[in-house]
């Protein structure tokens, strides 16, 4: 109980800090912080799938692309309110996730990684083919663009709502089923967990989160949805963020999002590597070093610290 109170306290403190933060930031940093919020949502989604259900996906950039294009197209053709398009992205990507989850039922481990990788490479080609509706390589421009403060508010509010949603899903029966699938499919089946149902459900939920992230992502790029923005590197970044966050933990997600959102900017200030591509070098290096030194990510580190500081105190379930 004490741990849960501490958890809620931390969440509340984080919420207050995030709510007050924009007033201390310049417009540029607000946009940057909004981007961190976007990655937060995407990593949260991937964590539900990979961290909690044990199904690896290198294809979440593709779901972000679907969500982003949903927003841009709805806004361009119907002038839909941008917040409503996020709901549409959620619903559409949920369905897409279920569809991708169906063949994924037969795959595990590296095979699933391969299939989702191929998915991530393939999806950005679709707008090029159907350039009449999806704008080709030039992309789709949504009817409305938003300011930095608006974007910050919306992305972190969304992040908070989805965080609570993820927490509610994962703490109950569904979350237990997910974790059972991750830890042992055989044991889960023999305890009555229906593998097909829960695996596809995890895919659906996870894709829906990524879709919302994609929609926020498009709002952050001045309302432009472009195929080149959703390349394979985006999928890899999200996976890396989830790994840095620590799979199977909700608390590390913030660290993972900050890592992939801020590192490029931070490292560009460092002399010698301060070119656009120096960032990628640093990014790749840090990812590898983190996997070598902290295989369980920031969450693993936090857990280890907590264990050494207060032995005997039960850890929270999330």
């Amino acid at each position: 109980m004490r741990v849960r109170a501490a958890g809620i306290g931390t969440a509340a403190a984080a919420a207050v800090v995030l709510a007050l933060l924009p007033f201390a930031l310049s417009a540029y940093h607000q946009a940057l912080a909004a981007q961190v919020g976007t990655f937060f949502v995407a990593i949260l989604g991937l964590n539900i799938l990979t961290g909690y259900t044990g199904q690896i996906s290198i294809g979440h950039g593709a779901f972000m692309a679907i969500g982003g294009y949903t927003t841009a197209v709805l806004s361009r053709d119907h002038h839909t309110n941008l917040v409503l398009t996020m709901a549409a992205a959620f619903a559409i990507c949920f369905c897409c996730g279920l569809l991708v989850g169906l063949p994924a039922l037969r795959l595990a481990g590296v095979y699933l990684a391969l299939a989702t990788f191929a998915f991530a490479v393939s999806v950005p080609q679709v707008p090029l083919k159907f350039s009449k509706y999806l704008g080709g390589s030039g992309g789709v421009q949504s009817a409305k663009t938003v300011g930095h403060l608006w974007l910050y508010g919306v992305s972190w509010t969304t992040a908070a709502v989805l965080f609570v949603l993820a927490w509610l899903i994962l703490r109950g029966r569904t979350g237990r089923a997910f974790r059972a699938v991750r830890d042992s499919e055989v044991a889960a089946t023999s305890s009555g967990v229906q593998l097909p149902v829960y695996k596809t459900l995890a895919f659906g939920i996870s894709a829906a989160f990524a879709g919302v992230a994609g929609s926020l992502f498009v709002m952050g790029t001045n309302g432009f949805a472009q195929p080149s923005e959703f390349g394979i590197l985006l999928s890899l970044q999200i996976l890396v963020g989830a790994a840095v966050a620590g799979l199977g933990s909700l608390w590390g997600v913030l660290a993972g999002a900050a890592f992939i959102g801020l590192l490029p900017t931070v490292s560009s200030d460092v002399p010698l590597i301060g070119s656009t591509h120096g960032q990628d070098v640093v990014f790749g290096l840090i990812v590898i070093v983190i996997m070598l030194l902290l295989p369980n990510g920031v969450a693993g580190l936090l857990a280890r610290l907590a264990r050494t500081r207060a032995r005997g105190l039960n850890r929270g379930s999330i």
Binding site: A118, V126, V240, T276, D280, M291, L292
Partner: protein
């Protein structure tokens, strides 16, 4: 040598060769279909030869993936980027005034060393942790190599000397590019050399032993760790061959050179069976020819849909026959 093979049980019984009769029949039927097509239509024949050349590139990259997968159960997502980096090394050597074939062989040597170093420094420490950890390390490597190349050489388009020139041959009414023939000869040649290495040398036997039965191999004195590292080195060499042969067909050199080819190689490896080297070669050639013919005759599949179509093939194989054409099913204990 055969005593060693016998002692650690490498010899397989004839019965589990893995190539089932229906698969053989289907492959034979496909070959017959293609031969008939080539005889009856010039365009068909030209597309087939071009497809074989592209397929040979996919096949050698797929073989690199399969070698690593067999030895360490790791899918190296950075394989394509490693190949791309090798092409840039060759580019640099050409700039320094090497002739093409000098640069070619020096690049292969560099790739061998780099492959070994990467395995020893980066992969070995995480190898026995989770699948996810290894995948993420190779993903990190992907980003790292991509960044390094962009940093050193820039992302703009570069031009490289074509190794085989632009000559065209005419066989009857069929036009065949010298470059396609050259690509086929070099890639298939390197695959054959590798096969001889694995099949007929002591090093090859030790490497097979280390991959298939590590514990038993270690007991009879094979240095398993080194064998795995050399396996990564050889895979990097194959990748470099694939990259160098892929570059002329793209006409220009840029850092995204190998990203689509990696996907085709994945599809090829899965089609052939991730565990089967012969399957990777068959799969690569099949994918190359198939994509070219489909692109020629199915008008909906334009060049933009080539990648999604390869994805569909990959997904189809994984769902219908996950062991691939030449792979064998795995029995898993629960």
């Amino acid at each position: 040598m055969s005593a060693l093979a016998h002692r650690i049980g490498l010899r397989r019984r004839r019965s589990d060769r893995g190539v089932s009769l229906p698969v053989l029949a289907a492959l034979a039927a496909a070959c017959v279909f293609i031969v008939i097509g080539c005889l009856s239509s010039n365009i068909f024949a030209e597309q087939t030869v071009a497809g074989l050349a592209q397929g040979a590139v996919y096949a050698s990259l797929a073989l690199a993936l399969v070698l690593i997968y067999r030895a360490t159960e790791v899918i190296n997502f950075a394989q394509g980027e490693m190949a791309m980096a090798s092409v840039y090394i060759a580019y640099q050597l050409l700039q320094w005034g090497f002739s093409y074939w000098e640069a070619f062989f020096v690049t292969l040597a560099v790739a061998l060393v780099l492959g070994i170093v990467i395995q020893v420094v980066l992969i070995r420490p995480v190898q026995h942790k989770s699948v996810i950890a290894v995948v993420i390390v190779t993903v990190g490597l992907f980003i790292l190599i991509d960044g390094l190349v962009n940093w050193k050489w820039g992302g703009d388009i570069k031009f490289m000397q074509a190794p085989f020139g632009n000559k065209l041959y005419h066989v009857g009414a069929v036009t065949i590019a010298r470059q396609d023939i050259g690509t086929l000869v070099i890639t298939i040649g390197s695959v054959l050399i590798l096969w001889i290495l694995f099949q007929y040398t002591k090093l090859g036997l030790a490497m097979r032993a280390a991959a298939l039965r590590p514990a038993a191999a270690a007991l009879v004195g094979v240095r398993v760790d080194w064998m795995l590292a050399i396996g990564w080195g050889l895979a990097a060499v194959l990748g470099a061959v694939a990259g160098l042969m892929a570059e002329p067909s793209q006409f220009v050199l840029q850092p995204t050179l190998m990203q689509p080819i990696l996907l085709y190689a994945f599809a090829a490896a899965v089609l052939g069976g991730l565990e089967s080297p012969a399957g990777a070669v068959v799969g690569g050639l099949t994918i190359g020819v198939f994509l070219n013919l489909v692109g020629q005759y199915v008008h909906f599949i334009t060049s933009e849909l080539r990648l999604p179509f390869a994805f569909a093939v990959l997904l189809g194989v994984l769902v219908v026959k996950p062991t691939g054409l030449l792979g064998r099913g795995k029995v898993r204990k629960v």
